[in-house]
């Protein structure tokens, strides 16, 4: 045998392989544990990575400009004279955008088509199928969302408004907007030169310019110069790459950050599972460790052996789990990204990531085993030989039924028992969290409350009738809601909406605070992130607003909120200054209902007051596809976590039964029949599951939910609540699986000859 570190390593590996071969039938448990942990990790890593980086990947691929400026039609040369002189500018491209162009293809129609006429070299979109435009007038590139929704492919024809039919040559994707039909509009690109030739006309004005900064980190310099030199350019609106990301994230961010938060939770669960599994395994093999120590093995040798064995077991199991998890998550992830105009990662990038995870999992498994073995190896061998992980005198009392006996058997191995309960509790808590999230996703579709709006109905009634409305049973609060369209007085033409409530507006609308604080006085405003981005506002700056036919109003910005309405181009203020400037200002009453209120009764109550209620639509009315894809993703994650749960339960039963084959055989030799074994195993499983369920409730209620709420607080006001039904469901499923599993195990154990179990315990 070679000496030196390599020789030692080889000797350890050979020893480990030999040991594993001898225990072939018994490595199922650690293999299952590592596989379950890796499966969870594979799913959440793939989903979280793909969703968290989807925008950047698409932006990169599409060569998304740093700034997009829209303005009223202008002569191209006039605009270019100003744009050319901007600092930090690398490239620019002009477009002409036509809105409300009817589109038709394959018997389907859409009024809200948007045609962008382009000709510069840099496009700002990525061609994902077919080819890019050339200079022919009858060619079109359509956006991926439209192609998907209408099942169009390069080669098909599409009718573009008055221009008539065009041949689709390519499909493009640009993350500067979400995809059709999540966006109401669908985009079609045409060639400027081709169009000029086809129409036989001269050049036409431009209304959009894409700007690429030389140094992306200093886009703000470019932007402020552009604002400054805008001069007489009308209707100027800027969108920046970072702003776009904020906007896109406002729509999907809630779920994305939920997933990322969840990935974090699931990764901790997987780590816990790995650690507990390793400890479990080392505890199980204490007697063999004791013999090794007794015949002269050093603690280091024992630790190395356990570490090497754990790594050898973990390597294939982790690879299989991660690969399967990645494959399972890939489909739903891609479907969740598509409506956002974002791209799924390349398989190779994902493979590298998962390979990294693999190394991590194997190292973690080996380290956890080595750490547990280290502790064991430093106990006197005689102590290990006698009783392994049993310490001290067993609890007194020989009475009680068989179920109680089963519970005592499993609880006596304290370390193993505690790690099992912890793992099962963690898994169950995560499942509870997921159930809560799933119902949240459901309510997202029709309940605006989750996205910042807390009122459900509006009624056209004057402000002074609010007390009468509040008297209707089921109505919690009612207050007038004022909404006013205006433009920014500083960035001319930038539209925005002012929203005002008397008193605390968060009672009715509470978009999450991204920065600063809530408004407290008449002179203060909370502005949406979209508006802040467009006009260049931050906490402390002044919002100057020009309402129609009134004098300019000024507010101090005290907070930035993640409002979803009007792409976040809103500002919340108190109504006093608005009313002073516009005495005729009227608004309907916003009604906040009691939870579970009878809407029909409320409607009748309002009818008696002479008003017709109007329901507030979900803020994501058109995002059904996105929500469904995200829900599918969450379901998948829930499924894998349930798998982990089931595997933990199997582990518990293995501890109670297969692990204790000798004890079961001895019991059978004393006359215990299948019924008695069922009771015993049921008691053992219940001893694991019941405390785990209780711990799960505590974990979910006091740790996971608050943490998740905090993590997504930047996006939504999330009332994460586990319903009694969900808790009942979880406990029911657990109880059912205990019953089934103990019946099955008892049957299997009662079938084999008693002597088999006895001999195994002896050998």
């Amino acid at each position: 045998m070679t000496s030196g570190p390599l020789g030692v390593l080889r000797a350890i590996l050979v020893d480990a392989i030999r040991g594993l071969r001898a225990r072939r039938g018994r490595i199922g448990l650690p293999v299952r544990t590592v596989f379950a942990a890796s499966l969870v990790l594979g799913v959440v890593t793939t989903a979280a990575y793909a969703l968290a980086t989807g925008f950047d990947r698409a932006a990169e691929r599409a060569d998304l400009p740093s700034v997009i400026a829209r303005f009223a039609d202008e002569d191209r040369s006039t605009i270019d004279a100003r744009v050319r002189r901007l600092p930090n500018l690398e490239a620019r491209a002009y477009r002409t955008e036509f809105r409300r162009v009817p589109l038709a293809a394959r018997g389907r129609h859409l009024r809200e088509g948007v045609v962008q006429v382009a000709d510069d070299a840099r496009r700002g979109y990525a061609v994902v199928a077919g080819r890019d435009l050339r200079t022919r007038g009858d060619e079109a590139v359509i956006e991926a969302g439209l192609a998907r929704e209408w099942r169009l492919r390069p080669g098909d024809r599409i009718t573009v408004g008055p221009l008539g039919p065009a041949r689709i040559v390519g499909v493009a994707l640009s993350p500067d907007n979400v995809a059709y039909p999540l966006a109401r509009t669908a985009r079609v690109y045409l060639s400027r030169r081709g169009l000029i030739r086809r129409l036989g006309a001269g050049d036409f004005p431009v209304n959009l310019v894409l700007l690429w900064a030389r140094d992306d980190a200093r886009t703000d310099v470019l932007l402020s110069q552009a604002r400054g030199s805008a001069g007489a350019v009308r209707g100027l609106r800027f969108t920046t790459r970072t702003g776009l990301r904020t906007l896109v994230e406002q729509g999907s961010g809630l779920v994305v950050s939920l997933l990322v938060a969840f990935a974090f939770v699931a990764a901790s669960l997987a780590g816990l599972l790995l650690g507990a599994g390793a400890r479990f395994e080392v505890q199980r093999r204490l007697p063999a460790t004791a013999v090794r120590r007794a015949v002269g093995a050093s603690p280091g040798a024992v630790v190395a052996l356990h570490g090497a064995e754990a790594a050898l077991v973990a390597a294939p199991a982790a690879a299989a789990g991660l690969a399967l998890g990645g494959a399972l998550a890939a489909g739903p992830t891609r479907r969740a990204l598509e409506p956002l105009n974002e791209l799924a990662p390349e398989t190779s990038a994902l493979a590298i990531l998962l390979a990294g995870m693999w190394v991590l999992v194997v190292a973690l498994a080996a380290l956890a085993a080595a750490a547990a073995a280290w502790r064991a190896a430093h106990r006197p061998p005689a102590q290990l030989l006698r009783g392994g992980d049993l310490r001290g005198a067993p609890p007194r009392g020989a009475s009680g039924g068989l179920a109680l006996l089963g519970a005592r058997l499993v609880a006596a191995h304290r370390v193993r028992y505690l790690s099992l309960v912890t793992v099962l509790a963690a898994a169950a808590a995560v499942v509870l969290l997921l159930l809560a999230l799933a119902s949240l996703l459901g309510s997202l579709r029709d309940d605006p409350g989750t996205l910042g709006k807390r009122y459900q109905l509006t009624a056209r009634l004057p402000a002074d009738r609010a007390p009468e409305v509040e008297a209707i049973a089921g109505v919690r609060e009612a207050a007038p809601r004022y909404e006013l369209a205006a433009v920014s007085a500083t960035a001319l033409g930038s539209p925005l909406r002012l929203i005002a409530y008397p008193g605390d507006h968060t009672r009715f609308e509470a978009p999450a605070l991204a920065d600063g604080r809530r408004l407290r006085s008449d002179g203060e405003a909370e502005v949406g992130a979209g508006l802040a981005e467009a006009v260049g506002l931050r906490v402390g700056s002044t919002l100057a607003v020009q309402p129609p036919a009134a004098r300019e109003l000024r507010f101090r910005v005290v907070g930035i909120v993640r409002a979803l309405q009007d792409e976040g181009r809103v500002a919340y203020v108190r109504p006093r200054r608005l009313a002073a400037a516009l005495p005729s200002l009227r608004g309907p009453l916003a009604l906040r209902l009691e939870p579970g209120a009878d809407r029909e009764r409320v409607r009748r109550g309002l009818a008696a007051l002479g008003a017709e209620p109007r329901a507030v639509g979900g803020a994501t009315g058109e995002s059904r596809g996105l929500l469904e894809a995200l829900a599918a993703l969450l379901r998948l994650v829930a499924l894998t976590v349930s798998l982990v749960c089931a595997s933990s339960l199997a582990q518990a039963l293995a501890l109670a039964a297969a692990e204790r084959r000798g004890a079961v055989a001895a019991l059978r030799a004393l006359g215990a029949d299948a019924r008695a074994l069922r009771r015993l195993l049921g008691g053992a499983a219940a001893a694991v599951v019941l405390p785990a369920a209780a711990l799960a409730l505590v974990l979910e209620g006091f740790v996971l939910s608050p943490v998740t709420e905090r993590l997504v607080a930047g996006y939504a006001d999330l009332p994460l609540q586990t319903s009694l039904g969900q808790v009942g469901l979880l406990i029911g499923v657990l109880a059912l699986s205990i019953g089934a599993a103990s019946a099955w195990t008892a049957r299997a154990l009662a079938r084999e000859p008693v002597v088999a179990g006895l001999r195994e315990a002896e050998a």
Binding site: L409, A663, D673
Partner: protein
């Protein structure tokens, strides 16, 4: 039926089946064991405990065969083994290590299935019985002392002894008997300790107490004094002896001369068959060392 723990006078049944100790290799003996068993079957009543015929053997085994492995590597461990044990009889089985003594006891106790032959306990068939019937039989009629004790490590000594009493269908009075046995075997002071806190001999005595707690008709003891000093061993032997004297059938595997000296009959297991022997301990054991308690995972 309360267990009397004092040594009693030898019962008449002790002398009954000495003729059975003939050469088992002879067809005639096998045949006669078969006849005895058949007669016992004919005269049996459903529950031996309630209406026990003094002359009917408690244990009847005939034509027992056990083979390990298959094909060329097959090893015949037991072949045409016949044995009948009457109530009140204490039979010792000796033999080299690995000769199949434990295997034989497992077959007799219904813990393993023979490849051929049949076993009856108290007139009830063991071979071919359903798992349910076997459980009831083991619970009510058989007490087993394992060579390696098989105490549940999670329970203290007393709880281990009283374990059979916790099974559904356990006979009444088992608790009281168990406590009496613990006292008799001198285990009171260590009754609350877990097996890993007990010496080998203490574990062995707890295992013996557990085998007797349900007041079985048949006691099968695999090296019951293997780990005991002379004094403790003699207490256990007294106990087994008196158990037999009270009308139970006892089969004991042993290597020790003290044990064979207390037996009514000594049988020797060799080449898969049982031979009668009248020799003392020194002559019957080739390897008297008790098997070490194995350590494993």
């Amino acid at each position: 039926m309360p267990l009397k723990l004092s040594a009693t006078e030898p019962s008449i049944t002790r002398v009954w089946p000495r003729w059975l100790a003939a050469d088992t290799r002879s067809r005639g003996t096998i045949w006669s064991v078969g006849v005895v068993c058949a007669v016992a079957r004919l005269t049996r009543v459903t529950r031996l405990r309630t209406a026990h015929q003094p002359s009917a053997p408690v244990l009847c085994a005939s034509g027992l065969r056990k083979v390990y492995g298959e094909g060329r590597s097959a090893r015949v461990l037991l072949d045409e083994v016949a044995l009948a044990v009457a109530p009140g009889e204490l039979v010792a089985v000796v033999g080299r290590s690995g000769s199949g003594k434990s295997t034989l006891l497992h077959l007799l106790g219904g813990l393993d299935h023979p490849d051929a032959g049949r076993v009856e306990v108290g007139g009830r068939p063991v071979t071919g019985a359903s798992e349910r019937e076997l459980s009831a039989l083991r619970r009510e009629s058989i007490g087993f002392v394992f060579q390696f004790f098989h105490l549940l490590p999670e329970l203290d000594g007393e709880a281990n002894v009283l374990l059979p009493a916790r099974l559904p269908g356990a006979p009444a009075g088992a608790d009281r008997r168990g406590r009496a046995l613990i006292d008799r075997l001198g285990l009171r002071s260590v009754a609350r300790l877990a097996p890993h806190q007990l010496s080998g001999g203490e574990q062995q005595r707890f295992a013996i107490a557990r085998a007797l707690v349900a007041d079985p008709l048949l006691v099968l003891a695999d090296e019951p004094i293997g780990n005991l000093d002379a004094a403790a061993g003699s207490v256990v032997l007294d106990l087994l002896r008196s158990s037999a004297d009270e009308g139970r059938a006892v089969v004991m595997v042993t290597h020790q001369a003290e044990a064979t000296a207390r037996a009514d009959r000594v049988l020797r297991l060799e080449h898969g068959r049982l031979f009668p022997t009248h020799a003392s301990g020194a002559a019957i054991t080739d390897h008297a060392e008790p098997a070490p308690r194995p350590v494993s995972e």
